[in-house]
Amino acid sequence: MSTIANSIFSPELAARFDKLVTLYPVKRSALVPMLLYAQDEVGYVSEAVIQEVAQRLDLFDLDVRSVLSYYSMLRTKPAGKYNVQVCTNISCMLRGGYEILDHCKKKLGIENKQTTPDGQFSLEEVECIGDCCSAPAMQVNYEFHDELTPDKVDEILDQYAAGKILDSTQKDGK
């Protein structure tokens, strides 16, 4: 049972948040993880998410908004079911990162920071994701894909489209 009546989150996530707020010397430390986990479930940080998170942490909505706007992974609008994040930072750029980004745009028919009309894919150019020695690299949601070529990208995106690759947020019903 969640400590919050009428929680907008699934019972599992609500229970997880109940625990999370007790973990730290200061409740507020749970804020960044809560926003990210809420986004994983809801798809983005909605007004309702902001309000419930604020309530759980005894913060003002404004405190939550201020933190929210700082972190680049947190978004206030929905993204595609599969958020394709292509790194174009130095190590990836040298090994074709921009080609991969361009290929994704063509393949998905969308530009940077757009979502396909069916809501399946969104595309984002991102900074270094910590996979530089296997460049060029990208993440689809939290899953890494690297040593990319345009052909390999086609294969990967086709598999996502066919529902064949599940990313870690969707495993174990989380």
Binding site: V32, N89, M93, L101, C128, G130, C133
Partner: protein, 444 residues
């Protein structure tokens, strides 16, 4: 994910358990896991903290996060007694472009991070350790969480660890995307649920840190080395490296090489050999143009400057830095103008915006270099860029400003002729950015 690579020149300390299933606790134990923390505890409650810190000092280990501060010395700054609880904070924010070594550690040897954090806690008298991973490392966070849960299940974490009468807890934490949060004081802010804006120093974290308690912050690789050092002895570890630069280091070699990868090489190892032997040389037999020796923040080296040993002091003497150990190799086809622009785009995008020299400086450098890149530059633009960067140096609230200014200065000073030629329409190298591009960071 970074693949496991090897080379005969490697000297293996930290990678010893890589590729052997050590993320599973029973396997880790088979491979001497949790033996180092027990060795420390066997020194007896009285002698233990001093013994750990002395061992760390004699190892010559210097921080692997970028600045290379001696680890044993950092730990010795923590006051013995404190009214506020003390903390250990493991920095796994790993966001320096060109760096993916902590990624491998979390995946291949998560218990080494846990054991290292426990030992750090025993050394300074902390009862809680935090392991903070960048938000993008969710799959790795899950590996760390599993490892922490397994260590609790065995009774290794929690109350009375290994019969010492001392308690130690570990909490894992995720970030949510921000390079600046890797800076130690911004990291503490983030962990306290705030924007990652740095804190003024002094006081230093060793005295007033997380939740105002004395805190040691170390990079994940620094911490993962600790159990190995305690098992092999400080002097033996130090002997693997060069003077004042103990041991080995994970070097990530990326860019235009035949065999990119994360290699463990002794400190002081030749940069030339690292590129031409270990990483198999420049891709496709091309000529080397330049090397960024330690992640994007480090000033570039020209091809004629690579006869140098990879340690903190030799790189500093050459006007660069060893940084995070991410070696990025550029072949003759690269346009330095474009590479410099891409580098400053990153810093402009990631500046936290708190202080003016950094927020405005990175923006103006980016704007000026963009104009040059797009063909509208004048020679005085090179001076402008240099002037802005020089005036950022040492004048920003946190070291981010230097981290943005230093590589910029490296490019325009060492490749000035190429910038001048570019402005005159003689472009070197092949463009990698598409012509129609949305410049990253526009409008944040």
């Amino acid at each position: 994910m970074p693949r496991l690579v090897s080379h005969p020149d490697e000297v293996i300390v930290l990678k010893r358990r890589f590729g052997q299933g050590a993320a599973k606790i029973d396997r880790y134990i088979e491979l001497d896991g949790y033996a180092a923390v027990q060795k420390a505890i066997a020194q007896g409650a009285e002698a233990m903290p001093g013994w750990i810190i002395d061992t760390m000092k004699s190892s010559g280990l210097r921080g692997r996060g970028g600045a290379g501060f001696p680890t044993g010395m950092k730990w010795s700054f923590v006051p013995k007694t404190s009214a506020k609880p003390k903390y250990v904070l493991v920095n796994g924010d790993e966001s320096e472009p060109g760096t993916c070594k902590d990624h491998l550690i979390f995946r291949e040897d998560p218990h080494a991070v846990i054991e290292g954090a426990m030992i750090a806690g025993l050394a300074i008298g902390a009862k809680t350790g935090f392991i903070y991973l960048r938000g993008e490392y969710r799959t790795l966070l899950e590996i760390m969480e599993r490892a922490v849960a397994d260590a609790y299940a065995k009774g290794f974490l929690g109350k009375n660890i290994f019969g010492s009468g001392l308690d130690f807890d570990i909490i894992t934490q995720t970030g949510a995307g921000a390079y600046e949060v890797g800076e130690e004081s911004a990291l503490m802010e983030s962990l306290e649920g705030k924007r990652g804006v740095p804190r003024i120093r002094p006081p230093f974290p060793a005295v007033v840190g997380l939740y105002d308690g004395p805190t040691i912050i170390n990079n994940a690789e620094t911490i993962a080395n600790v159990p190995h050092i305690l098992l092999m002895g400080g002097e033996a570890y130090a002997a693997l490296g060069t003077e004042r630069n103990g041991g080995t280091r994970l070097f990530g070699i990326s860019g235009h090489v035949e065999r990119p990868g994360v290699y463990e090489l002794p400190m002081g190892y030749s940069l030339r050999r690292a590129i031409y032997e270990v990483a198999g040389g420049v891709r496709g037999g091309k000529q080397l143009k330049a090397v960024v020796p330690g992640g994007a923040s480090c000033p570039v080296l020209r091809a004629d400057e690579i006869d140098i040993g990879l340690d903190f002091d030799q790189l500093a003497k050459a006007g660069s830095m060893l940084g995070s150990g991410g070696i990025v190799v550029l072949d003759e086809t690269v346009s330095i103008v474009e590479f410099a622009l891409r580098t400053i785009q990153f810093y402009q995008h990631e500046s936290c915006g708190w202080c003016i020299p950094c927020r405005e400086g990175t923006d103006w450098i980016k704007k000026t270099l963009t104009r040059v890149y797009e063909g509208g530059g004048a020679k005085k633009d090179i001076d402008t860029v240099q002037y802005i960067a020089e005036n950022m140096m040492g004048r920003t609230f946190c070291p981010f400003g230097d981290a943005a200014a230093m590589p910029t200065l490296g490019f325009v000073k060492k490749f000035r002729k190429e910038f001048e030629d570019y402005i005159e329409g003689k472009k070197a190298g092949t463009a990698l950015m598409p012509e129609e591009r949305d410049l990253i960071g526009v409008g944040h």
